[in-house]
């Protein structure tokens, strides 16, 4: 799993004046569009598993199959939207799991000194010292395929990214005078965490969610590419890419379509993350 960089340079410097100051807008729009396609697309498209052997490897813009067909004559658009649905579902759920575990443990560690904090931080270090994808391959090879094992593995392995960043922020917030004032006023630990610390880390959390979503999508695609992600017969952006390799010279669109989809989602999510960073930083500047 790639590292998260919430402080990445604003996209404006790379994407030109079109995006200057509007990363958030474009990113949000693109992410919404992708989500819409992933949710609504499969209902409207043809059966992604229906084979028509006399219409194999049709190029895009063919009659009845605007993105063409694959080696078994299956409609590429139907497969891409179903694959998108699967990949997004995996990315969203594993991001949610990672964020939940990471945030809860980070708040716990920030609030409690002593053995609890040491245990959490050491565990984070231990997790981060392994290459995530390799461990994920090992785990999935052991526990088996399927949506749930995949999501649990991805989430269960990538939470330390959240824990590390949220802990740093939360423990600095715990030092604030208003947290001391809340303690003096008699507020309980939970009230302080929920009322002062969690809202304080929320902007960072939001930004991380966007970047992590992109990371999880790439991770899912990589695992599916290796045959460890989506189960057999379930289209996913990764396994479509894997299948396309045999037809690279006769039907390159089989590779381009899922590859472009991956790039599109990842860029959208990153754009959204950049935009969020910019927005929330701007707000933080106005209200210190």
């Amino acid at each position: 799993m790639a590292t998260v960089t919430p402080t990445a340079a604003p996209a404006a410097t790379r994407l030109g004046p079109l995006f200057a100051g509007r990363e958030f807008l474009w990113g949000a729009l693109a992410v919404l569009l992708v989500l819409l396609v992933a949710i609504v697309g499969p209902w409207l498209a043809q059966d992604p598993a229906a084979t028509t052997l006399d219409r194999r490897l049709l190029p895009p813009f063919s009659d009845g199959h605007w993105l063409g067909t694959d080696a078994l004559g299956r409609d590429l658009w139907a497969r891409i939207v179903t694959g998108l649905e699967w990949s997004i579902a995996v990315a969203v759920a594993s991001t949610a799991i990672a964020a939940l575990i990471g945030t809860v443990l980070a708040l716990l560690a920030a609030e409690r000194a002593g053995p609890v904090r040491t245990l959490v931080l050491q565990t984070v270090d231990a997790f981060l010292s392994f290459p995530g994808l390799v461990v994920a391959i090992a785990v999935i090879a052991t526990v088996g395929h399927g949506y749930l094992p995949l999501v649990l593995t991805l989430g269960g392995l990538s939470w330390p990214v959240f824990a590390r960043v949220i802990y740093a922020e939360a423990s600095s917030l715990m030092q604030r005078d208003y947290v001391l004032a809340a303690r003096l006023a008699g507020s309980s630990r939970t009230r302080i965490l929920a009322g002062h610390v969690l809202p304080g880390v929320a902007p960072t959390l939001l930004v991380m969610l966007a970047f992590h979503l992109a990371d999880m999508l790439v991770a899912e695609s990589a695992l599916s590419f290796l045959g460890l992600g989506a189960p057999l017969g379930e289209p996913s952006l990764g396994n479509m890419l894997a299948e396309s390799r045999q037809y690279l010279y006769v039907a390159p669109w089989l590779m381009f379509v899922p590859a472009c989809a991956i790039v599109l989602v990842v860029v959208s999510a990153n754009l959204l993350g950049d935009g969020l960073t910019e927005r929330l930083r701007g707000r933080a500047r106005r209200a210190p």
Binding site: L180, A181, A185, G186
Partner: protein, 331 residues
């Protein structure tokens, strides 16, 4: 001291930190009492441990020794519920109103929080109490929906005071309540605190380095140096006839009111020593203008002194007899 039972009675407080395994005695045997309705000033320069005393009294720092009695009951020995009930009647106002209010919270929420935390009243009663508090600290009702970044420093400190008053404490501890504020605002906030004390009979423990403020507000003074009490007594005695050379030096540092006022300043050499390695004998001796051999060896206990107070000096009241160096820069 009168025969009245003290509201707050801290006896031989000790707070020890261990930075990097070394022992730092931030508070080393401090005793102080606050009577009902009384204002006591705790004075000392930065690093003397006065804020640590406040946090120790509030139970934020664990005590390495000593006892805190409040309303005659031992806070340090009290169990969870009783302790919470006792702490409720002593409240601390923090120094910096820019840090002590969560910028994301509305004033209404900030003021209601102590009531919610202690489960006081219904939401309607709490809302009424919040409005009442706002009036007490002299802020208009339309401040309720504001957030701290929309308020000035003085307004923020008023909110902080209102928050401390929410639970109707019998003792208010104010840690440098005005030092983060503009000079023009300071008097207003001081008067607000005095007002609260007069109208509600609240006891006040004011922590400050500002001797001029002390003279204005306090009945009694406790002077701290490097984690220990060096002098205590009624405010007029201490200010007009300081027994300890450190107190005398602090008082002489207050700028004269008249231009060219012939005030003699006692210049202390050097900085306060590190509390990690306090000097042997009297802790003040390396900077003391009247230190003698005995001071380098023997630590003076806090003993009754002329004027009814107490001082920790082997040679109390002697400083005034010495020819003092005139500060040429002021002349």
């Amino acid at each position: 001291m009168t025969g009245r039972e003290p509201l707050l009675d801290a006896d031989d407080l000790r707070v020890t930190f261990r930075p990097g395994g070394r022992e730092l005695r931030a508070v080393d045997g401090v005793s102080l009492q606050v009577l009902p309705g009384e204002t006591v000033a705790l004075v000392g320069e930065s690093g003397s441990g006065k804020s640590t005393v406040a946090l120790a009294l509030m139970g934020v720092h664990p005590l390495a020794g000593g006892r805190v009695r409040f309303e005659g009951r031992d806070v340090t020995a009290a169990g969870g519920a009783e302790r919470k009930a006792l702490r409720r009647r002593m409240q601390l106002i923090l120094q910096d109103p820019y840090g002590s209010l969560d910028p994301r919270w509305s004033v209404a929420r900030i003021l209601a929080e102590p009531l919610v935390a202690h489960d006081v009243g219904t939401p309607e009663e709490r809302a009424a109490r919040v409005r009442e508090l706002l009036g007490q600290v002299g802020l208009p009702l339309d401040a309720l929906e504001r957030r701290p970044p929309q308020l000035s420093g003085g307004q923020r400190q008023r909110i902080a005071i209102a928050r401390a008053l929410a639970l109707e404490p019998r003792l208010l501890i104010a840690d440098e309540p005005v030092s983060a504020l503009d000079v023009s605002i300071q008097a207003q906030i001081v008067n607000l605190l005095l007002d609260v004390q007069r109208t509600r009979g609240t006891s006040l423990l004011v922590i400050t380095h500002d001797i001029a403020l002390v003279h204005h507000v306090a009945h009694r003074v406790v002077v701290m140096y490097l984690g220990r009490v060096v002098e205590t007594g009624a405010v007029d005695d201490v200010i007009l006839r300081p027994q300890h050379p450190y107190t005398a030096a602090l008082i002489s540092a207050v700028p004269a009111r008249r231009a060219g006022g012939a005030r003699q300043r006692i210049l202390l050499p050097g900085e306060p020593p590190s509390p990690l390695e306090p000097p042997a004998g009297c802790r003040f001796h390396p900077r003391c203008p009247i230190a003698r051999d005995r001071c380098r060896i023997e630590s003076p206990p806090l003993a009754p002194a002329a004027g009814g107070g107490a001082t920790a000096c082997h040679f109390p009241g002697e400083l005034g007899a010495l020819p003092l160096a005139r500060d040429e820069r002021l002349a």
